[in-house]
Symmetry: C2
Subunit: 149 residues, 2 copies
């Protein structure tokens, strides 16, 4: 039994060294306005955990809405994180594909059964995310996005 | 002016070391049948060019149809290729995002204007593909898929 929720890729995200350069190139290529850059919040509000430990890792983000998914650019800025780690180990590239789920516990349960755990997790206004440590089993990191009240 | 054609991500592809293991894990996670594995044709029919030179590089492929795009798994098998190169330099991971275009020349012209060239190209029955050398400008390799008569 697979998860009925993992049907559509909601986002894909590229880790870059220089988000201003990358967003300008993507905007030119797609013929769209240059989107604003935001920054992840501090650990006090994200409760970010990277490889089992609280971390101050943060990132600059920007988003391009394509017709069937959202393309995200991520530039790590200080502190240990999956983004920083990916950049150091693999260089600039596509960091993850994201699925949006209604039932986080069910999805995490299914992943656990398959031996897939959490690489990083955190919260943002209205929701949260889990990155999976699935590079050796699925070939890629997945992000599970969920809403919370 | 961006390309009006680059609006939807048609495919995303993961380069893996062991396609049988990866497809079995993905099928379990998604709760779908294990898809068949195919292999790219020989250079005589693909006319594959990698970094300006004809190459015998080949790959095993399989495809999962998600609701909004196709997830592709790629295992390089011998001969120089962008897939083999990616695996050696970056490890298993998401190799590219693909756009389907009607007018290949227009898209390649737009990319050229931006200083983006071809990393690899080849043909298959009914169409062809171009991988761009855009890792430093866009943070990721793009695939341009096109039909031909």
């Amino acid at each position: 039994m697979g998860s009925e929720e993992l049907r559509a890729v909601a986002q894909m995200a590229i880790v870059v060294k220089d988000i201003e350069k990358a967003r300008s190139n993507w905007a030119e290529l797609l013929g769209v306005e240059v989107p604003p850059i935001s920054e992840t919040e501090t650990r006090e509000s994200t409760h970010m955990i990277f490889r089992g430990k609280p971390s101050n890792g943060r990132a600059k983000l920007c988003f391009f809405k394509l017709s069937n998914l959202v393309l995200e650019l991520i530039q790590p800025v200080g502190g240990p994180s999956t983004w920083q780690n990916f950049l150091e180990e693999s260089g600039e590239g596509i960091h993850h594909l994201a699925f949006r789920v209604e039932n986080l516990d069910e999805t995490l349960g299914k992943l656990r059964e398959m031996g897939i755990g959490m690489e990083q997790r955190g919260e943002f206004k209205g929701g949260g995310y889990v990155y999976t440590d699935s590079r050796s089993s699925l070939g890629a990191i997945m992000e599970i996005l969920y809403h919370k009240e």
